[in-house]
């Protein structure tokens, strides 16, 4: 089946705001009307960090939020591309290609829904929570983990004024919320959950996959947003291969940009994924 790119568009947007939050998190808001109207939760845009030839490739970012014609992206400086993005000012022009990829599956989701966010994995959840609420889901909990309190994406930015969205926090160093991994918090929610949506580092996602395989009901939808070093973002360069389970055993390569970034966790070959070097997001 050919990848459907009918909603993807090249678009030049004006930067509206670049907020530097605590802990190095940055939330950038850009006027991108086509992307704002077309994007679905979990889909991403390929942003060009500079009109020059270095850095050459676009960088993939989940859309975190939309407001009218504005789209927000959450990131931190990890290399040359994100350094250029972080230095942008309101009024600057940003070149976007999107929306791209497969987002979260929202059809037929009722609730309760558990969102599991690790570090910068927070990015797709504000827009996802809003979409779930718009579909009538009333019971949403965001389990948000980070290394330290400063690096926690603020709870209010998941809720965006909606008190029905509960946020529970965890930090590796115990500086806020549960002292430990965010996956420690998952267990007690799984028996009731109709859907679990996750985004974060691969080890966190692998732990979650194991937990849900053991504790959640068979009909519970469990999906994770993954990442991989990406060339084009639209299924053409074949650069962003990830191991997934093959029918009949073993694993095969899927493309993060075209088959993902969101995949059912039971489809991912977690052991093989763990053997790969972490995504070089620089």
């Amino acid at each position: 089946m050919t990848l459907d790119l009918s909603r993807a568009a090249l678009e030049q947007g004006r930067v509206l705001d670049v907020e530097h939050l605590d802990g190095g998190l940055i939330e950038m808001t850009v006027a991108l009307p086509l992307l704002a109207h077309r994007v679905r939760p979990g889909e991403f845009a390929q942003l060009r960090c500079s009109p020059a030839v270095t850095p050459l490739l676009r960088r993939p970012f989940s859309v975190a939020w939309t407001d009218g014609e504005a789209c927000s992206f959450v990131f931190e400086v990890v290399g040359a591309g994100t350094r250029l993005l972080a230095a942008m000012r309101p009024g600057d022009t940003l070149d976007s290609l999107g929306p791209l990829g497969r987002g979260f599956t929202l059809e037929d989701v009722v609730g309760p829904v558990v969102c599991v966010s690790g570090g910068l994995g927070c990015a797709p959840f504000p827009i996802l929570c809003r979409a779930l609420r718009a579909r009538g889901v009333e019971d949403i909990v965001v389990l948000n983990g980070a290394a330290t309190a400063a690096r926690l994406y603020p709870a209010e930015r998941f809720r965006r004024g909606d008190p029905a969205i509960e946020v529970v926090e965890a930090t590796d160093d115990g500086s806020r919320g549960h002292h430990g991994r965010v996956t420690d918090l998952v267990g007690r929610h799984l028996a009731r959950a109709a859907a679990v949506f996750a985004c974060g580092p691969n080890p966190m996602l692998a732990t979650l996959a194991a937990l849900t395989a053991e504790l959640s009901r068979p009909e519970t939808r469990v999906e994770a947003s993954l990442e991989a070093p990406m060339g084009c973002g639209f299924g053409t360069c074949l650069g962003c291969a990830l191991p997934v389970r093959a029918r009949g055993g073993g694993s095969r390569w899927a493309l993060c940009c075209a088959d993902g970034p969101v995949m059912p966790v039971r489809d991912v070959a977690w052991a093989e994924l763990a053997e790969l070097p972490p995504p070089n997001v620089a």
């Binding site: 790119l5 290609l97 639209f234 299924g235 053409t236 074949l238």
Partner: protein, 305 residues
């Protein structure tokens, strides 16, 4: 300097007439189905498919791409669905497109290439064969491209197996690219395309080990353009058959460099990943330049680079 023939149709020989001089390079456009949703394939002259082998190939272990200054390294490993699927399922779709579809054929033995050429036969929708004797990411595939005698024997064998236009894609990773180009011409190639990627590597800063599991990959993008241009100029001097230039073209000006070197047509490669409308803009830009008195006229299209 007279205006290079860059606007309008180009006759590359043996029935391969492209509606304009701009093509999408192999490996940067798949089989057209994805990029064709992001740009209008009817605005370019040719689409050169992903390298296609007799059997499907799963591709290499990731990471497969690594960014470098002004370029990227890739080691995809010729992931492709195999020639049967391309001929049986894709070619009927190609037949409805105005751009010529040139199937890039790869292999590790003479038999592999001959098999693919025969399988293509005279399938509707496939305008020509580009012989990939230069993929740096699979064992043996480049042996043909670095030795003029072996390249010649391969081209003779495929020439006997097809009546389609036969283009030979040259590797720059060779002491004397002109000698390989001449060998391809003497063996019956209708054209050559130059160049494929340059072998390169990127080392991790933490432990000094290669980013790509195979150690090296193929370098593409604007970083290679001066190297590609020098190699292409040598090829243009060495052969009388048409030369299709490729290597770091990102806009109309950089395309014109290759026509100035003597190319009959060009391919846009890595730029497609960054801006899938690149080739369409270049085709339009070349058309606009041809209307001017000088091929280097000042009325450039708005470059996004």
């Amino acid at each position: 300097m007279s205006a290079p023939p860059v606007a309008g149709p180009v006759d590359l020989g043996r029935g391969l007439v492209v509606q304009n001089a701009v093509g999408l390079a192999s490996g940067t456009a798949g089989y057209g189905f994805e990029i064709g949703q992001l740009m209008d394939l009817n605005t370019v002259g040719a689409l050169y498919t992903k390298g296609t082998t007799p059997q499907p190939r799963p591709g290499n272990r990731p990471p497969r791409v690594a960014e470098t200054d002004g370029g990227m390294l890739n080691s995809i490993g010729l992931q492709n669905p195999g020639i049967d699927r391309v001929v049986d399922e894709y070619a009927p779709v190609f037949a409805s497109w105005r751009c010529a579809v040139v199937v890039n054929v790869a292999g590790s033995s003479v038999n592999d290439y001959v098999h693919c050429a025969r399988r293509i036969g005279d399938a509707q929708g496939i305008a020509a064969i580009e012989l990939n004797i230069s993929c740096p990411n699979i064992a043996h595939g480049m042996d043909f491209g670095v030795d003029p005698a072996q390249a010649g024997r391969l081209v003779v064998a495929v020439r006997e197996a097809t009546s389609l236009h036969l283009m030979v894609k040259l590797t720059p990773n060779v002491a004397d690219i002109a000698a390989v180009a001449r060998a391809a011409e003497d063996a019956g190639a209708d054209s050559v395309s130059a160049v494929n990627t340059f072998v390169g590597t990127k080392l991790r800063r933490d432990d000094g080990r290669p980013v790509l599991p195979g150690g090296t990959g193929g370098l593409s993008g604007p970083a290679i353009r001066p190297l590609a241009l020098a190699a292409v100029a040598r090829v243009c001097e060495a052969v009388r058959i048409p030369v299709v230039g490729v290597g770091g073209i990102v806009d109309t000006d950089s395309a014109l460099d290759f026509f100035a070197a003597g190319c009959a047509a060009i391919q846009v490669g890595t730029a497609n990943f960054v801006d899938p409308s690149s080739a369409a803009r270049i085709a339009a830009g070349l058309g606009a330049r041809a209307q001017e008195s000088s091929p280097r006229g000042v009325l450039a299209e708005t470059s996004r680079w």
